[in-house]
Subunit: 466 residues, 2 copies
């Protein structure tokens, strides 16, 4: 090749080498510089274009790096042959697509919602400020795969005192949500494992299980919790259960059934129980229900806990406590998974717990939620010919059995038209079985206390009960 | 039953109702109160024990809640029959097990380590402080499943300008690490999907794939990157590749092979390419290598990116850009997965990017890493009869071909004895094939500049080269 007649714009923001690189690359792509041809020497081209040899070298290096040319020692730079896919320059900036706004509902009775107004922002901010500091720079690097030792220690301590869960910090594994932990658990079980889940129950759980497992059996629930007897004539290996506070019914798994369940699990090496203790912190009368794990003598219970209800849903911190055998398997097979929670966040939370702020927060929130629940029940009372309440002992939601003649669908739709979001029980049912009398989940935690009256009145008006 | 001779300790910290509940529960468990027997009425027991009826009621309610007794309207409380599993009270506090201390090595040449001393803590702290505020209380609730719109917008903007990646914020999905995103991706592909991975390569990726997929094929790599021709006679459906900077060799996938790869992908509906652009921000000569995604006209490239190298590994924020067809499938099948990254963290990062701090940080770190790399190469130069360097164009690590006669194992062990952590290439090889001449990965980013000389001298001394 003779020379490259490249026009360089010296007043452009684009560096000269980049202009030259772009020019040559395009010439190659468009076929105006033939494959196999030799590029001008750096010295010649720099003289011709009146730029430094360095600039030419940088442009050539880039072409080399991307594979458009090759350098042959003592010979020069040659254009490489390349395959003829239509190769187009990037188009213009993508149109900044309108980001979907969250549906603008006035009141959300979603069971995952918590009270956000009474969160101790000042304390959390203080601990965050302390933690985000040069002094802790090593926390920027990857940490312990199971989660930070400091946080696991706090969790183990809390679990023992609040839930009777017996574990050492080494048995605790921290993850960004129960879903993530469940996915790890699934990997610890064999591929043919058959799961049993409460129905109705957490739909998230059954959907995740269904993504991996062949068989997921729905198991019925009544006022004593999961109907354990149903398991006995199945080939279920692992049962997912919410013993302290069934989601969404709110029933407690009775001692009798707990014992049946533990006995069943002991019947085979493959059997395990996943105990999801998602909101046991909020029980409003008496003391909290002991965890199933605390009754287990045979290493058959996997304990799942979360800070979603007790602290912040969007923080995404959950944990599981593995029985010995599974822990061993975890360490052998899965300990290469990086912990999914930010280390700084883990340390902020550990500090929050160590200083007693978590306990104070729980005590305070228990009172606030209790007040919200009492008020909710009081507001519903006048309508008790048309609305029956289930599960009012604990947690952040209740179940309404609505007997105004409307179907579940109608109830949801009417509420929605009034700007109120509320979910039917059937949306938590694996088999989408509709009850004869429609049931609705009423998460009261997210509604400010001052708005409760208005929210419930609006809801009942939309249901034509007022 | 006559009466319950329970001794209550009025000066104890344990509430009276709890002492009573504990007493009765134990009597039931130990068989001293028979199943089916009636408990004393609340009035009688309160008179007998000289406590309030309320206290008795609370104790009874707890027994009811846990299923030890049942209340029969107008009759009283009856002890329920329960199965006879030995049921033991929780043991003492678990011994606070010694938390394993991280191996105390003096120098870590781990390729995942970054420079932690030059992180802009003050800026990050400022944005965190602003974000952790009552004003943003709604951020405590769960957010968008794909990740916060604000952050996705910043990522899309950054990707277009820095990497030529064409995407709208709607196509970006945020997750707590590439492993998490990869697990979601796997769910979008069919179960029989066959994967191809670079070998050597990121062992994490192949291990995750192996957990889910039947077949994972190792594919060779040379100085032009992945040997694409190898794919053609296989039944591989999805290829995982690091085109901008092969891990760990550091080679760039040439234009020729890029085109071959894109062509291959167009050959069948099932075929896809996963482009992991893990550290493309750090290229020290010329401009950065364009992403493969920017050359793709057929929606066949899934772009994977992360803030682990460019910002903080322990923050656990990664993202993927899905082509249209997969995005649609994702929205239909997987959008019930909660985003795994803390919302507050997402907003802090979005602010950091919006204000230009991310770009400033990258520019600054590029200079710092370049200096560290130059110094490293300079320190190695005198030994170039025994050590050859590969992949010194970019990234946070180089590869050393060590020709001092020692085996990989010896090299690792000798270094370890001198307090230096360094990894052999074979630990990133799926087939654990050992090269004739041992290769070691030298991650230079995490060593403070002032220590580099000492660290490398110590390393070479341990290898008996000094």
């Amino acid at each position: 090749m003779e020379m490259l007649s490249c026009h360089l714009n010296r007043s452009s923001d684009v560096p000269l080498y980049e202009q030259l690189y772009d020019y040559i690359k395009n010439e190659i792509i468009e076929g105006r510089i033939e494959h196999g041809s030799k590029l001008p020497s750096k010295r010649k081209l720099s003289e011709y274009l009146k730029i430094s040899q360095n600039t030419v070298e940088t442009a050539y290096d880039q072409l080399l790096a991307e594979g458009y040319a090759e350098g042959i020692p003592r010979k020069g730079y040659y254009v490489l042959a390349y395959e003829d896919l239509e190769y187009v320059q990037p188009k213009d900036t993508p149109s900044a697509e309108k980001v979907e706004a969250r549906e603008k509902m006035k009141y959300h009775f979603h069971p995952s919602w918590i009270d956000t107004e009474n969160f101790p922002f000042a304390k959390w901010r203080k601990y965050a400020k302390n933690m985000i500091d040069k002094e802790h720079h090593s926390l920027l690097l990857l940490g312990d795969m199971q989660g930070e030792a400091e946080l696991r220690q706090e969790i183990a301590h809390y679990l023992y005192h609040a839930r009777g869960v017996q574990c050492s910090p080494d048995e605790v594994i921290i993850g960004a949500g129960s879903e993530i932990l469940l996915q790890q658990l699934i990997l610890l079980f064999q591929k043919e494992t058959v799961y049993g889940v409460e129905d109705p129950g957490y739909h998230m759980i059954s959907r995740i299980l269904k993504n991996y497992a062949n068989d997921v059996y729905p198991l019925g629930v009544d006022e004593e919790g999961l109907k354990v007897k149903q398991i006995e004539n199945t080939n279920i290996d692992v049962v997912y259960v919410t013993p302290s506070h069934h989601f969404p019914y709110g029933s407690v798994l009775s001692v009798n059934r707990r014992i049946q369940l533990l006995k069943w699990a002991r019947g085979s090496k493959k059997r395990y129980i996943i105990e999801d203790d998602y909101d046991s912190e909020f029980r409003y009368s008496g003391k909290s229900i002991p965890s199933l794990q605390s009754m287990d003598q045979s290493g058959k219970v996997i304990y799942l806990g979360s800070f979603s209800k007790s602290l912040i849903p969007s923080l995404r911190i959950s944990y599981m406590v593995l029985p010995k055998e599974l822990l061993q398997r975890y360490k052998q097979e899965l300990s290469f998974y990086q912990c999914t929670v930010s280390r700084l966040d883990q340390h902020i939370l550990a500090r929050f717990m160590r200083e007693g702020d978590f306990e104070r927060h729980l005590n305070r929130m228990r009172k606030i939620y209790r007040k919200k629940l009492d008020k909710t029940l009081e507001l519903i009372k006048p309508y008790n010919d048309k609305v029956e309440v289930i599960g009012e002992q604990s947690g952040l939601h209740i179940v309404l059995v609505v007997k105004n003649g409307m179907s579940e669908e109608e109830l949801v739709e009417k509420a929605s038209l009034a700007g109120i979001q509320i979910y039917p029980l059937s949306s938590y049912s694996l088999e989408k079985r509709l009850k004869k009398t429609p049931m609705m989940i009423l998460g009261f935690a997210g509604i400010p206390e001052a708005d409760l009256e208005h929210a419930i009145r609006m809801l009942f008006r939309s249901w034509e009960m007022v």
